[in-house]
Amino acid sequence: MDKDLHSTFAELMFHLLPSPYESQEINHLTLAYFVISSLDILNSLNRVEKDAIANWVLSFQVHPGTKADPNNGQFYGFHGSRTSQFPPDDNGVLLHNHSHLASTYCALAILKIVGYDLSNVDSEIMLASMRNLQQPDGSFMPIHIGGETDLRFVYCAAAICFMLDNWSGVDKEKAKDYILNCQSYDGGFGLVPGAESHGGGTYCAIASLRLMGFIDDNLLSSCDSSLINVPLLLEWVVQRQGMDGGFQGRPNKATDTCYAFWIGAVLKILGAGNFVDNKALRRFLLTCQYKYGGFSKFPGEFPDLYHSYYGFTAFSLLEESGLKSLCSELGITETAAKGL
């Protein structure tokens, strides 16, 4: 992998995202997370100004004021972007709060990457109000005005609590039950109960269980007492590596760069990284590497930010020299996760 080329690509993205990304403006913090975490993995974070990043991220946090009642049904976290953020009225009352779990996860992840001490984040009302998003079945809504509930937001909630080292925002038992309900007959996990097993859903399930402390490192050696059907899961996961070396997200679908992370990270968390044919995977990923930096979804296409990021994380899981190692369950580097 051409590390310098990719660093330049990520740096360019850092300074200006091309117009097509405006359609994802609402997830601006997520786009920023992809760029900044890319620079970190590529060991190139020294190219950007960390304090400016921290201040910018913190400016998306919702501060409801002291009078806000955490039981009013709202969630007070981070806005995803400027278009959803509105100034308070003349009396200082916040009329529009569209804090989002995914944006909040990305905000905290970026802050950790740039070395900001999360104990300085005002997180009391964030955690207390996060409970308003958890549903009776244990799943999470992403935003209090309503939205699809699925494993992605269980993961975001778990990662937020883990990073803040405070689990008051999640009913872990309920979340666990929901995750277990998402394990399909074939061993993988769908995004909601009954849905088809999916690489992304399986990552959210396993990473959440790991972050919540329900499964240990190297689950394989202790699989007898496990909550989930580990042998069936492992069989499903291992078989996602295709003939071309890449990983697919579902059986009988084309292989795709991003699943090298979603599936690779699950194998890593399960302690089963040795089941991957690393050489073949590397060969596949290189066919998706763009000549001017970045990775595409499929071989020979134009790159995009999302697949570039998961291309970098995949190379990190492959222990490519010069790349920082990854904390698979948090989706950031080990150094960022440990606050080093």
Binding site: E25, H98, H100, G147, Q239, P251
Partner: protein, 286 residues
């Protein structure tokens, strides 16, 4: 007209900027403030920035008007994932008492461009929920249409499962799965839906009642394409929680033997055999 989408279509020919439209002359756009040090800025097009600035002004003023509704349609056209816009649209649909059947058509048109977007499906569900059982056929038809273009469309399948559970319509679902599998035996989404139907349909009596006929169906499918992972996993799923009967069912043994005696040895089969040997009380004679 009420949903504002026909306006969008006309404007695609030659779009007039909002500032040049007389009906918007009384509105002062509310620009977004990205602070003194924007990070990872996006190179907005002029059209995008303008639509969102007008949207922000109208939303902040909480203007519940037909022109606001049509503005949400324009904003959705530019960024279909913007949940603030969709949220305001739902408030407007309620305030203006719009016929929600028109809204289903609007969603269908938006989905034609970009159906892989969570907000569109969330909105669709909101509308269908409001319409209740009335919406059942429209929703089953809509997902069928999406699936006729992409038979593995994850959002469409999720929506369809929700429709079946919330609004009903199970009668033809098993036949629909068979139809899709006939078109493509390798369609894992259709196998998954089949499993969903036989375990969840109130009309079929559950997994236990369906096992025998489903094993027969699946063994046939495996004989046609022994390399198909989906059918093998489905077969295994039919014995969920029943390792003993899985290990002893003569139908499973015979399909394994038959495939083994043919020239090619498939990985999935060897896993199945090993798994059966492990879980079997009696050694499997091969």
């Amino acid at each position: 007209m009420a949903s504002g989408s026909s306006e969008v279509e006309e404007q695609e020919q030659e779009r007039v900027m909002l500032r040049d439209r007389p009906e918007w002359s009384d509105v002062t756009p509310l620009p977004q403030d990205d602070g003194p040090t924007p990070v990872v800025p996006i190179k907005y097009t002029e059209e995008f920035a303008e639509v969102m600035d007008y949207f922000r002004a109208v939303f902040a003023a909480d203007e519940r008007s037909p022109r606001a509704l049509s503005l949400t349609a324009e904003a959705i056209h530019f960024n279909a994932g913007n949940y603030t816009v969709w949220h305001f649209r739902r408030l407007l649909l309620e305030s203006l008492k719009i016929d929600l059947h028109d809204e289903l058509e609007f969603v269908q048109r938006i989905a034609a461009d970009n159906s892989k977007n969570y907000q569109i499906w969330h909105h669709r569900r909101w509308v269908a929920e409001k319409l209740g059982p009335d919406a059942r056929n429209a929703e089953l038809q809509f997902t069928k249409k999406v699936l006729s273009v992409d038979a593995k469309h994850y959002h469409a399948w999720s929506h369809r499962q929700w429709v079946l559970q919330a609004l009903g319509g199970w009668e033809d679902e098993l036949d629909y799965c068979s139809e899709l599998l006939e078109q493509d035996m390798f369609n894992n989404s259709a196998w998954n839906q089949r499993y969903f139907v036989i375990t969840k349909s109130p009309l079929l009596g559950g997994l236990e009642a369906m096992r025998e006929s489903e094993v027969l169906y699946t063994v046939k499918a495996i004989n046609v394409y022994p390399e198909n992972e989906s059918s093998w996993r489905y077969l295994r799923g039919l014995y969920k929680g029943e390792t003993i009967s899985w290990a002893n069912d003569p139908q499973v043994s015979s399909v394994c033997l038959k495939i083994l005696s043919s020239k090619t040895l498939f990985w999935i089969l060897s896993v199945t055999v090993i798994n059966r040997i492990k879980t079997s009380e009696m050694p499997l004679r091969l």
